[in-house]
């Protein structure tokens, strides 16, 4: 009968791969705090072996969402399946062994100051009731993995932020979890340390095949390591897909705004001079990805449509080995016919083109 319920739940959830491949499946998760909805009907799947990034502004519901996955937070309604098992109605006692299948790392590391690094790493195993020799052997192995073997006997207070997070990662892996939850794990770190921590997570994902779900408010984090991204806003998933495709073609306003920091934007001094209607030059925004971004788009444009145009800003990025580009062109704008030829040519080459406005003089 269980089987039956599971099968029909799968059917209801739509076109998902078989449940066994989904480490996490959330259906219509809702959680209210007073009158505000932290989660307002979130359905999401984390597939085995992938890195799923959930991004949103603060207060969007990210933290509540990630805490629902290990039962630190209970949803008001909806279901949380971890490796096919519904956990949102389990008692605290039933959740405890299950949480050992889920590692978690935190923004502020949450290392125990009274324990040495190795004792911190070994704590999940102590909780599991493993013998001391096994705990210490495993801790040594994990400290080796995160490159902190020489700090085994040190106390966390003597470590740098990046080292603390490495210890946090080692601790999260100690009980060989099926899933790693990362709660803004790099938000308290400087950019260089962030890169090294993300590289470590990426390595762990590849080497151990560990499924990772991370929440962040930084697109840079998503871009560096996530396979798929889900954008959360006001307790709802507003956009979801492979990272490169969301970067290339963001559909919601919130995604565009979150991408603002790392994707080329029209320089403010040009933006401030934009006027609608006619002007000496039209400013075009061109988004290209995949094949269109690999082609010699600009030289082809010059050949096909004679007339001056200038590149004012932009560039091609590589996201998950996929080129994703945004270019801002200034095209002679007094001749409507010329402008529409340019646009028609670009559209024929699979580029998305938007006329942002005109500028009076030269920019």
């Amino acid at each position: 009968m269980n089987q039956h319920i599971k099968a029909s739940a799968d059917l209801a959830a739509g076109s998902h791969p078989p449940a066994s491949e989904d480490v996490v499946r959330l259906t219509e998760l809702k959680r209210h705090f007073g009158k505000t909805a932290a989660l307002d009907g979130v359905s999401l799947t984390v597939r085995k072996g992938e890195i799923l990034g959930i991004i949103g502004r603060s207060g969007a519901g990210k933290s509540t969402l990630i805490r629902c996955l290990n039962g630190l937070e209970r949803p008001d309604s909806g279901a949380v399946f971890i490796e096919g098992r519904e956990i949102s109605r389990l008692s605290e006692g039933e959740l405890q062994p299950l949480r050992r299948r889920i590692g978690m790392i935190f923004q502020h590391f949450n290392l125990l100051s009274a324990k040495t690094v190795e004792d911190n790493v070994a704590l999940p195993l102590k909780i599991e009731g493993r013998p001391k020799a096994e705990r210490l052997a495993r801790a040594a192995e994990l400290l080796e993995l995160v490159g902190l073997s020489e700090k085994a006997k040190a106390y966390p207070a003597s470590l740098s932020g990046g080292q603390k997070q490495r210890v946090g990662i080692a601790r999260a892996l100690a009980a060989r979890p099926a899933l790693l939850l990362s709660d803004e794990a790099t938000s308290a770190l400087d950019p260089e340390t962030t890169r090294s921590i993300l590289a470590l997570l990426r390595d762990i994902n590849r080497q151990l095949g560990l499924t990772i779900l991370l929440i962040t408010h930084e697109m840079e984090v998503i871009r560096s390591i996530a396979d798929r991204v889900a954008v959360i806003d006001a307790g709802r998933i507003v956009e979801e897909g492979p990272v490169w495709s969301v970067f290339a073609n963001p559909r919601s306003e919130i995604t565009r705004s979150l991408l603002g920091g790392i994707r080329p934007q029209l320089p403010a001094e040009i933006a401030s001079r934009l006027v609608p209607g006619a002007g000496a030059e039209a400013i075009l925004r061109i988004d290209v990805s995949g094949e269109a971004a690999r082609a010699p788009l600009l030289s082809d444009l010059a050949d096909a449509v004679p007339g001056p145009f200038r590149l004012v800003h932009g560039g091609i990025d590589h996201v998950q080995q996929q080129p994703v580009g945004t270019l801002f062109l200034a095209v002679a704008g007094n001749d409507e016919n010329h402008l529409s030829q340019v646009i028609a040519f670009l559209k024929a080459r699979q580029a998305r083109v938007e006329v942002l406005g005109h500028v009076a003089g030269s920019v």
Partner: protein, 218 residues
């Protein structure tokens, strides 16, 4: 100082040390769990139960608001029940413990409350139960404060034990009042004060040393 008085001084030191030590130990054994209970049952605690928290808080506040000298006398029936007598050093340990336990519970509560909630969450996320959280997180993390608070409690107990002379418990305070004050034996008074200073400084020094060894927070 005559040999008789000197012997009296030595005996009084021993009585004070015994009263302070025994009631200190008892207040630790009962006060720490009480402090844990106050923190655990509070809002957002690991065993939230506001009703229990309020009841415990009220009892503790009740005991703490009674002046010790009153408690000393009021508890005589209880003392007789436990120790079999209502006078002497051992008899004083009962009211001293009963006064010090809620005092220490409040001090322990403050240290335990300061443990970062994120650490408790981390232990829960690892699959730890309440007992694990107490044993691996709350107590070890709050230990420097728990020890520092115990030092404060011991010093307070030395002062409180002076009043225990009222029920014939002896001790340094009693000696100072009976000989130093009432019989104008200035040498006894000076000796008692010096011994008390040494005792208090010694306890504080040892406590501070222990805290420094236990504290790995910075």
């Amino acid at each position: 100082m005559s040999p008789v008085l000197f012997e009296l001084l030595i005996r009084s030191i021993w009585e004070t040390v015994l009263m302070t030590g025994a009631s200190g130990l008892i207040s630790l054994v009962f006060g720490l769990p009480l402090g844990l209970a106050l923190v655990a049952t509070d809002r957002g605690g690991i065993a939230e139960s506001l009703w229990v928290k309020r009841a415990l808080g009220a009892i503790i506040n009740g005991f703490r608001s009674v002046p010790f000298i009153i408690l000393l006398v009021a508890l005589i029936p209880v003392t007789r029940l436990i120790v079999g007598t209502s006078i002497g050093t051992w008899a004083a340990i009962v009211p001293l413990s009963i006064a010090a336990t809620p005092y220490y519970a409040r001090i322990a509560e403050v240290s335990l409350r300061e443990v970062d909630h994120g650490l408790i969450e981390a232990a829960r996320a690892m699959g730890g139960n309440r007992w694990t959280i107490i044993r691996e997180v709350l107590v070890p993390e709050a230990l420097p404060g728990i020890v520092a608070g115990f030092t404060v409690t011991l010093v307070t107990l030395i002062g409180a034990s002076a009043m225990a002379g009222a029920i014939g418990a002896g001790g340094l305070g009693d000696l100072a009042i009976r000989y130093g004050y009432q019989r104008f034996e200035t040498s006894v008074m000076v000796a008692v004060v010096i011994v008390l200073i040494i005792l208090v400084c010694g306890i504080q020094w040892a406590g501070d040393r222990l805290v420094a060894r236990l504290d790995h927070r910075a």
